[in-house]
């Protein structure tokens, strides 16, 4: 019943979306024409503060990642960096209010008031009148109290959130998302409400269920459609990691019927070393156990500069190395900051149409850019531990996910923690998707790696994932032996001389024996006979 309802609602929303699109284009074609085309499909993200050292810290990054998961290109901007007229170029705006004491400056406030595109606000009591009116929003300050949130199949108790406002009332046609329950009085309020391109969500904090709750809002607000999947993502896989453990993990997940993705750290040097061969073998093994490989972003030194220019060659080299070894990387794993760096995006990520964006609060950038890079497929990365903090409302989840979601693990330290995790994955009852069932492509100048419907293709040729790779060369020559001449001659001479000298030594030994006896007889017993001086 629920399902049919959701289909009906989707259909309605699509109709509505068309209507809205039409509405937004037709009244003011001039504005649309004057807007820079690049900004047309972009989302402008405005925030009052990053809310450092509060429970809301990181929520700007979270919304950025959520938007990225829907393939949205984002321009993020703090209120005080806002320049007049920016708003005109955008048809979608997200406003994050973290600090009620900081208000938008007059320019921004007036432009927001005049703005008539899609609008989403998270938190805060001040909204553009138009939005407030359309949503019929009535906000009341939440009591300083434990709040429980429910979204999808999960629930979670939120610790006290300062300056939280409840949605006390909405207009009738507004769609409500999730529920917030005040633990003291049991009042149940919607987490968010949306109507006609406008939406409001009460709060967002990184690392909690609000992420998922907001995703439901965003899915509708961005008109995203399709089937979303859940993925198991193993991160922090280094050539220095316990590769045997990685193989065991692959076996366990394979046995549990869980397809998974490992994000391998790239190696740019010494790729012919046995150590690298072992790394590649581990990847081949993982691949044969229904694991998919994605390339993790390299670590960036604090001293890196935009002028370096080596990233493209390094990344494509690594991709090609993998492909040459029968490994099909299907995407990339990176911190969010990568998508916001011009160099990273253009030199390091342009090979991929699928990128798993994880949080990286201290990401090192070399050339921060205005607009984020967007990808056709970009699952939202959430640590599996975070999911485990959620209360499940039923044993098996049955609400469709609002976005592609990758549950991440760092490669385990030991077998015990790995067992626990595999167990937890199995008990989560989540039907995990196989990355290679989707269409993903990685293109370098030399080759193309693709996946579709469960098969892997390199330059269009299917890859045999069960093929064994090269053995590790036990006698690998790390240093080139110096070139020598006359080696043969000296070899022969060596042997001849050794025999001669050996024989001579034997003769000398005999002489010594005789000489020694004679010496003793001559000089030690009878005293010197003729040698006296």
């Amino acid at each position: 019943m629920r399902k049919s309802f959701s289909i009906a609602r989707t259909a309605m929303l699509i109709v509505l979306a068309f209507a809205l699109a039409y509405a937004s284009v037709s009244p003011c074609p001039a504005a649309a024409e004057s807007a820079p085309p690049a900004a047309a499909g972009q989302v402008l993200l405005l925030y009052d503060s990053l809310a450092l050292s509060t429970v809301r810290q990181g929520n700007v990054e979270t919304i950025e990642r959520l938007l990225a998961a829907y393939g949205a290109r984002v321009v993020a901007m703090a209120f005080d960096r806002y320049t007049a007229g920016t708003l005109k170029s955008y048809s979608r705006v997200v406003v994050v209010r973290n600090a009620p004491d900081l208000s938008a400056n007059d320019t921004l406030a007036s432009e927001l008031a005049a703005y008539d595109g899609d609008y989403l606000q998270i938190g805060g009591q001040t909204l553009p009148d138009r939005v407030r009116a359309r949503l019929g929003l009535k906000l009341t300050p939440a009591p300083p109290d434990m709040i429980r949130i429910e979204a999808g199949d999960y629930g979670q108790a939120l610790s006290t959130v300062a300056d939280l406002d409840f949605i006390a009332g909405t207009s009738a046609d507004a769609k409500r998302y999730g529920t917030l329950t005040s633990m003291s009085d049991g009042r149940r309020m919607p987490y968010a409400a949306a109507a006609g391109g406008y939406a409001y969500a009460s709060c967002l904090s990184a690392g909690g269920l609000t992420e998922l709750a907001l995703a439901y809002v965003l899915k509708d607000w961005l008109h995203a459609a399709g089937d979303f999947g859940a993925y198991v993502l193993i991160k922090e896989v280094y050539p220095f990691s316990d590769l045997a453990l990685l193989k065991t993990l692959a076996d366990k997940l394979y046995d549990a019927g869980v397809p998974f993705v490992i994000s391998v750290k790239p190696v740019f040097y010494n790729t012919s070393y046995p150590a690298m061969q072992r790394y590649l073998q581990a990847m081949q093994y993982v691949q044969s156990r229904n694991g998919s490989i994605i390339v993790d972003a390299p670590a960036v030194a604090a001293t890196s500069t935009a002028a370096d220019g080596s990233l493209r060659g390094k990344m494509s080299g690594f991709i090609e190395l993998l492909a040459d070894n029968g490994i099909a990387p299907l995407g990339m794993g990176a911190g969010l900051s990568w998508a916001y760096d011009q160099i990273y995006a253009s030199e390091g990520m342009s090979f991929f149409d699928s990128v798993f964006l994880g949080p990286d609060p201290q990401g090192q950038q070399v050339q921060p850019g205005g607009t984020s890079a967007a990808f056709a497929f970009s699952p939202y990365v959430m640590p599996f531990a975070q999911l485990q903090d959620f209360e499940r409302r039923s044993i098996a989840p049955h609400t469709p996910l609002p976005l592609n979601l990758a549950f991440s693990f760092d490669l385990f330290r030991d077998a015990a923690s790995m067992e626990d995790a595999v167990d937890a994955i199995a008990r989560s009852w989540i039907p995990f998707s196989d990355l290679k069932n989707g269409a993903h492509a990685v293109r370098t100048d030399r080759l193309t790696v693709q996946s579709s419907d469960g098969s892997l293709l390199i330059d269009g040729k299917p890859l045999d994932i069960d093929k064994k790779g090269r053995e590790v060369d036990a006698d690998y020559a790390y240093t080139a032996a110096p070139k020598t001449s006359f080696t043969k001659l000296f070899g022969v001479q060596n042997r001849i001389l050794m025999v001669i000298i050996g024989l001579s030594l034997a003769v000398f030994g005999l002489f010594f024996f005789i000489g020694y006896r004679r010496y003793r007889r001559k000089f030690l017993y009878r005293g010197g006979s003729h040698d006296a001086f």
Partner: protein, 416 residues
């Protein structure tokens, strides 16, 4: 492969072939020792021949008295030998000391010839020629001014040469009187012992050839007369005489039981001067006699010439070339890619050197000491390397003299 490689290869082959030749010589020399050690020395004839002992001296005041006294004390019948000291152009008190000796041993055959700048002073060969003119013995023995022969030394030499008509000369052994004076004299002691057993005894055993060492040897008078005395141009008059004797078809025998004790240089600089003089002299002789290599009648001495050529030209130049290449290589100026012998082989070779030298040492009383083993090892890295410098310097001086036509004169070995 570079040109340096080929140069290096040639050097290495030269060095190793000479090592092998020396091994053969040591074996032969040692066999000689084992064979003759217990053989008695032939007896003197009923009437021992009259012997003239010649002692060339140039400013030898410090040692001459002792030398003459020990010559006077020989157990050879006193009336059957004379001692001729050629005090050649000395500026020290030699002549007074010698006349004092003459007075003290008035009844003995002690002749002192004093020369000055005009009559002498033209080197050892010239001095010997002067002495020879005054001598009357049918055998001529020669001792250096710094020698202390054992009592039996002359008797053995005479007995040996009288026992075999084919012998043109007989040489005795010399040992180091001051072997404990310094590290250098210890080295010299080891060197002289092993050299004599190896080169002299070994060559005698194999080719019936020896080289006259300049002291403690005896020759037949008529041979000297036939060859017209000593070549005044030769500094290494001994080697020169040896070649002449071979050419006459005689043999030179080594009689190790005739022993003289010699004073050796105690400091490196003195040693260096002395040895480079020898080296130069030997080079002179080699060059002079080199044509003999292609002379049919000289078949017997080919080995000797080759041996000397090998040591003074091939070995020295090989060592210099290889060391030079090593240095240039170390400085990064040349690049050799030549393969090397295994380090084990080098180790074996050094062991061979040490053992070979050691077994020649234990033929002598008091030399079978562990300390000698260490000394030989030390010698390998110091003394033997210095020898190369000496030989090279000698070679250089020879050619310098050749170019500048310098006159031969006394090279004085400093005494202590």
């Amino acid at each position: 492969m570079t040109p340096f490689d080929i140069l290096m290869l040639i050097s290495v082959i030269c060095i190793w072939s000479l090592l092998l030749v020396n091994v053969v010589l040591i074996v032969a020399g040692y066999l000689f020792y084992l064979q003759t050690d217990r053989e008695p020395v032939p007896a003197l004839p009923e009437l021992p021949p009259f012997v003239s002992i010649m002692v060339p001296a140039h400013n030898e005041g410090k040692v001459i008295v002792k030398t003459v006294e020990s010559l006077l004390a020989l157990n050879y019948p006193h009336d059957r030998y004379e001692i001729i000291v050629i005090n050649d152009n000395s500026s020290d008190n030699s002549s007074e000391l010698l006349s004092g000796l003459q007075r003290r041993y008035a009844g003995r055959n002690l002749i002192v010839i004093n020369t000055d700048k005009t009559t002498g002073g033209k080197g050892k060969s010239n001095a010997l020629n002067i002495g020879f003119a005054q001598s009357k013995g049918e055998l001529i023995a020669i001792y250096d001014a710094d020698n202390t022969p054992e009592k039996t030394a002359l008797t053995y030499l005479v007995a040996e040469i009288m026992a075999d008509d084919r012998l043109g000369a007989v040489i005795g052994k010399f040992r180091t009187r001051n072997r404990n004076a310094s590290l250098l004299t210890r080295f010299i002691n080891i060197e002289t012992l092993s050299f004599q057993w190896m080169a002299q005894a070994g060559r005698w055993k194999l080719f019936k050839l020896c080289t006259i060492p300049g002291t403690n040897f005896i020759m037949r008078r008529h041979i000297i007369e036939e060859i017209g005395g000593w070549d005044v141009k030769a500094i290494a008059e001994d080697t020169e005489i040896s070649f002449r004797i071979y050419m006459m078809g005689y043999r030179i025998k080594f009689q190790p039981k005739s022993v003289t004790w010699e004073q050796e240089p105690q400091t490196v600089s003195v040693w260096f001067k002395q040895r480079s003089r020898w080296a130069k002299g030997n080079v002179y002789v080699i060059v002079k006699n080199f044509p003999l290599l292609f002379n049919r009648s000289a078949a017997r001495i080919r080995f000797d010439i080759l041996y000397f050529v090998a040591i003074y030209f091939l070995l020295v130049s090989s060592l210099i070339v290889s060391d030079l290449l090593l240095i240039l290589h170390a400085l990064g100026y040349v690049k050799t890619t030549i393969a090397g012998f295994s380090s084990f082989l080098w180790l074996l070779a050094i062991t061979l050197f040490v053992v070979g030298t050691y077994i020649t040492l234990i033929t002598e009383k008091g030399e079978m000491k562990l300390s000698n083993l260490w000394l030989i090892m030390l010698m390998y890295v110091t003394y033997c390397q210095l020898w190369m410098v000496v030989a090279a310097y000698g070679l250089y001086n020879y050619f310098k003299d050749l170019v500048f036509k310098r006159e031969v004169k006394w090279y004085k070995t400093e005494r202590f």
